[in-house]
Symmetry: C2
Subunit: 242 residues, 2 copies
DNA sequence: ATCCGATTAATGGTACGAACATTTGATTGA
DNA sequence: TCAATCAAATGTTCGTACCATTAATCGGAT
């Protein structure tokens, strides 16, 4: 055991929750860093002075929260995980499913956040980022007007990249994470959207205009373009998160 | 046992995950509705033909996901829960905490989403909701100019309510979720913000103007007011999400 | 000396049984 | 009639044993 004793014995009721709370606290406070090995279940059992079942149940909770990882075998045990966006996305996804939120609501929200990103990206984006955005927009245009028909897969990929770049240009991580979450939640419905030529053309036109305006440093004009699309929303394929 | 047998025995590895998957599937598919009682642990044990530990660990996972509830005693057991927004918000909140996002980034994002909410609320909000918003804004103003000094706690509470109401007025559940998540993440830092008279006055003024403009059906003017605050962001207390 | 396969030890996953705690409903007695 | 008590169902915890997986170690063949 390399690490000093971190945890104190617990007594009373809801032992597994108390155990989970102590471990979570140690992780969130930064006492243990991502990638570090915590202990084996049997070690924790003795540190907390509880049965192994209680430890395992606490670990299950933390694993579901996404803050630990459990490995089998020698050198196995509890490892602190770097939190990933996927966990947050999964929770949202579940919520949307049970509440039967239409995909149009998700798209509307994403577009709304986009508007602000455009402003911030124009103000804070590097020159390189702006240039890259324009290049990608041009690429999109080309892919949509191929003589062999539009390359939907590549268009989707670039659209995704542009979205992430735009978020990154805000220099605000919250935008990046939010965009990630929304993209993951939209996920499988993406294809549905992109199959619609109308949606595709509109999206690409928006990107081209937006990229140009951002590059030209005219955020307010770029914004007004997106306002129009908000006030008269496009017809989207109907669908519910199943 | 009232319900018919729903589940099939599982074998092999990762039994608890298989059990969790079957139960989750039954819930998400609507086979079992929120509020329904599923079974006792001992029942599930026999239905799945696994040990008690496996069942309990599966349930811990589902409980953390927020889709079931566990009650003790007679009439206890597994109950299907109506998903609550807080579960989905918690994950993202954890992520933001671990990554030490500056609170200024959170506030910026919240303000950005607010802008769009104002537009949508003006378009879609009921008359009652608009009236309520104005009333609350007036209340805020009064609370801030009390002869005995501003009542910070009440101001915070009303601000919170207004934020949720504004999100609700968009008639888009995603905005509601987002606002909830942000409020949860900002959480304890709220107090810090509200202690600053400058921030407080600015927030209240914004609310008053916004509420009035929304009620008067002039979304674009309401929006322009908030743009000003975005372009020259207010000085906020420095702080990091710990 | 080097490399590959078998052995071994640490560790998570599962099972079973027992005892305790909590909740609800039924029973009992004043 | 009402309150105290008891009993049954059920979650919570513990302990032990055994299996499966993994990584390190050891040993022999080249």
């Amino acid at each position: 055991m390399r690490l000093p004793i971190l945890f104190s014995p617990v007594t009373g009721n809801n032992l597994s929750e108390k155990v989970a709370a102590q471990i979570e606290s140690a992780i969130l406070s930064g006492t243990i860093l991502p990638g570090n090995r915590l202990s084996s279940e049997r070690d924790l059992q003795t540190q907390f002075e509880v049965g192994r079942g209680a430890v395992r149940e606490a670990l299950k909770t933390l694993k579901q929260k996404g803050i630990i990882e459990i490995r089998k075998g020698v050198k196995g045990g509890v490892y602190v995980k770097k939190l990933e966006i996927d966990n947050a996305s999964e929770s949202l996804s579940l919520l949307l499913k049970q509440n039967k939120v239409p995909i149009t609501d998700l798209v509307e929200f994403r577009d709304a956040v986009d508007e602000t990103e455009v402003i911030l990206a124009a103000i804070r984006g590097d020159r390189d980022e702006k240039r890259q955005l324009v290049e990608m927009a041009m690429q999109l245009s080309e892919l949509n007007t191929l003589p062999t028909g539009p390359d939907i897969e590549k268009i989707k990929a670039i659209d995704r990249e542009m979205n992430l770049l735009l978020a990154k240009m805000t220099k605000n991580f919250v935008f990046v994470w939010m965009k990630n979450t929304i993209q993951l939640s939209i996920g499988s419905y993406d294809s549905l959207l992109y199959e619609s030529p109308k949606y595709r053309s509109r999206t690409i036109d928006n990107w081209i205009n937006t990229a140009k305006e951002i590059a030209a440093g005219e955020p307010l004009r770029a914004l007004s373009l997106m306002f129009l699309s908000l006030c008269s929303p496009p017809e989207l394929p109907e669908g519910q998160a199943s």
